[in-house]
């Protein structure tokens, strides 16, 4: 076993593990919160310059030579908003989170639901053939922690409404799961309840729940 290069070839274990990415806590207790985000952003190297536009016109006036891309991004974001925005049974529930007159009714084959209007859209690499985009939402409701903040469809808080320019990881533009209306929960787990003493507590209430 003196020839280290041939030994390396035969190595039976994982060659390399990025230990930073496996860490879940600091060695010393930090004085601030929001650790998960900090740790994540420390690892993701690729950052994208991104701008939030309130509407199509705003994008076109800022980028007169890229009006076609502005439109592609806007239409794409609208479609993505329809797919991924939080959905509510009643206008009241939706307005409780997003504020008066901030919600639209959508009719489907099995009834109707309410979802917030797209408040803006975030665009990156606008001048490339395939710009990145995602719908942005905001709330005007005094009940909501999202009041006057830019929010992604998954509830991610980007910052205050007056902030338009962001440096974000490319992954914020990744396609997100579609959102639907849940009719019933708890159809899994009965075997575990029957076979063990594990109790079932109710989980934390999520965004749009």
């Amino acid at each position: 076993m003196t020839d280290t290069s041939s030994q390396k070839l035969k190595q039976k274990r994982t060659r390399n593990i990025d230990l930073r990415s496996m860490r879940k806590a600091f060695s010393l207790k930090p004085i601030t919160v929001g650790l998960a985000g900090l740790l994540l952003s420390a690892c993701s190297s690729q950052r994208e310059e991104a701008i939030v536009f309130n509407n199509l016109d705003e994008c076109v006036s800022a980028n007169p030579s890229a009006s076609a891309q502005c439109e592609v991004a806007y239409e794409g974001a609208l479609a993505e908003a329809a797919r991924t925005a939080p959905k509510y049974n009643t206008a009241n529930d939706c307005e409780f989170e997003f504020g008066p007159n901030q919600c639209q009714q959508v009719r489907t084959s099995s009834g109707s639901f309410f979802m917030p209007f797209m408040a803006g859209y975030m665009v990156s690499s606008l001048l490339s053939p395939r710009p990145y985009y995602q719908p942005m939402f905001t709330s005007y409701s005094p009940n909501s922690p999202y009041r006057y903040r830019w929010i992604g469809a998954d509830g991610r808080d980007f910052g205050g409404l007056n902030k338009k320019r962001y440096s974000v990881s490319k992954s914020v533009f990744d396609k997100k799961p579609a959102v639907t209306r849940t009719m019933q929960r708890g159809g899994f787990g009965s075997s575990v309840r029957a076979k063990s003493a594990w109790g079932s507590r109710s989980g934390s209430k999520g965004w749009g729940g």
């Binding site: 190595q11 639907t180 899994f188 787990g189 965004w207």
Partner: protein, 400 residues
């Protein structure tokens, strides 16, 4: 194959905290034990464990192909009829599997014997793929183990690659991950797979199994009402198939990891089915369906001990060791030779008894990992009892 004592790393509990390994001690007992390790030769690893693991995988796949087309076998596997077609469809589509763990009796000298295939929801993945890897790195760095010490453990590398294969197969860029509430061990296992998914470029969402919802168009949803289109579940198919959302889990067009065809392999009925197709194979133990027992000639059972296992037992529950004699099979009235538990209503199988090797006071069991169809490493569990259960200790290993 030797059991060697070693000084535990002075700061390992602090490191466990930093890396989020929260279940190294469970129910007040040590689970992770680094006061000793097992040492193998490369030949023992490659000839006795790695090759048989991949060969058995191919044999298991052969059985799946057979069971899919055979109603009598599907009944013997106690798979509810509504899932026969979905299993056949999933098998025909060659839906990719992520990982499995074969449990072996192996003493370093004789051929490893397959005890069972944990093909659907195996745990001890994090401590195998990452934590024992880190233990070796630390001890080599400190000069406590020789520089050429290796480990049969390419789990993390292979899991990341296989997750990329799965992402490519389904064309996905995000995935849900699910397990039950109130279990640190399961949550830790799923978190590890979420970390591997991130490394594979897949966005990860988490939902507890009990919180999964049914949406208005028959889609499954998480607590944010997001549609679960692709899901890794650390929750057994045999439970799902018998629960309220069971049929919905098929109709919902959710792509599952593990795919539903693996419910054929994770079933203990696999063992008699394997023996039927490959009887006499050096890595298999004789095994029979309960319904075949009356047909067995007396001489087949004579002077043998048999292990009675429920089709769906987990973590060593409801296992009984029986003695064959003129009257057939009788219980050995000995507390050490049976375990209690909630399993067994779906029937049992019988497998020839072969004792676990003893190293000191410990009975030692080898878990041999598969990622896709490739052997990917081993894990070692020790128990004072002859039947290894969920509280048995985990020990690291090296190759010299």
């Amino acid at each position: 194959m030797l059991r060697m004592g070693i000084q535990p790393r002075a700061n390992w509990q602090q490191m466990a905290h930093e890396y989020g390994f929260h279940f190294h001690t469970m129910h007040g007992q040590a689970y992770w034990d680094e006061s000793a390790y097992y040492q193998f030769t490369l030949e023992q690893i490659e000839r006795d464990l790695e090759s048989p693991t991949e060969e058995i995988q191919q044999m298991c796949l052969h059985v799946v192909g057979k069971v899919c087309k055979d109603e009598e076998l599907l009944r013997k596997f106690a798979i509810p009829e509504g899932f026969w077609q979905p299993i056949a469809d999933s098998w025909r589509a060659q839906e990719p599997s992520l990982y499995s763990r074969l449990d072996f009796v192996y003493d370093g000298k004789h051929p490893a014997k397959l005890l069972e295939n944990n093909a659907d929801t195996p745990t001890s993945l994090y401590e195998s793929g990452f934590w024992q890897w880190l233990w070796l790195e630390n001890n080599v760095d400190k000069g406590k183990l020789p520089k050429n010490a290796d480990q049969f453990n390419s789990l993390q590398e292979k899991l990341i690659n296989q997750l990329k294969v799965i992402a490519h197969y389904y064309g996905l860029n995000y995935m849900h991950f699910a397990c039950c509430k109130d279990t640190d061990e399961d949550r830790g296992t799923v978190q590890y797979l979420q970390d591997c998914a991130k490394a594979a470029g897949i966005d990860d969402y988490f939902v507890f199994v009990e919180d999964i919802g049914l949406g208005e168009n028959g889609d499954l949803t998480d607590l944010q009402d997001q549609i679960i289109s692709h899901c890794f579940k650390l929750y057994p198919w045999e439970f799902m198939q018998r629960e309220e959302f069971g049929l919905a889990s098929i109709k919902a067009n959710t792509a599952w990891v593990e795919p539903i065809w693996k419910s054929v392999v994770s079933n203990k009925a696999l063992l008699p089915a394997l023996w039927e197709s490959f009887s006499g194979h050096p890595n298999l133990l004789p095994a029979f369906f309960e319904s075949d027992l009356p047909k067995l000639k007396h001489k087949d059972l004579q002077a043998n001990k048999w292990v009675k296992k429920p089709l769906f037992s987990r973590e060593g529950a409801n296992i009984e060791i029986l003695q064959a004699n003129a009257a057939g099979l009788t219980s050995l009235d000995h507390a050490n030779l049976s375990t209690s538990g909630p399993y067994g209503e779906e029937g049992f199988i019988y497998q020839a008894y072969t004792p676990l090797p003893k190293f000191g006071n410990s009975h030692t069991l080898i878990g041999s990992w598969l990622v896709g169809d490739e052997a990917a490493g081993i894990s070692i569990r020790e128990d004072e009892s002859m039947i290894t259960q969920d509280l048995s200790r985990y020990l690291p290993h090296i190759i010299i």
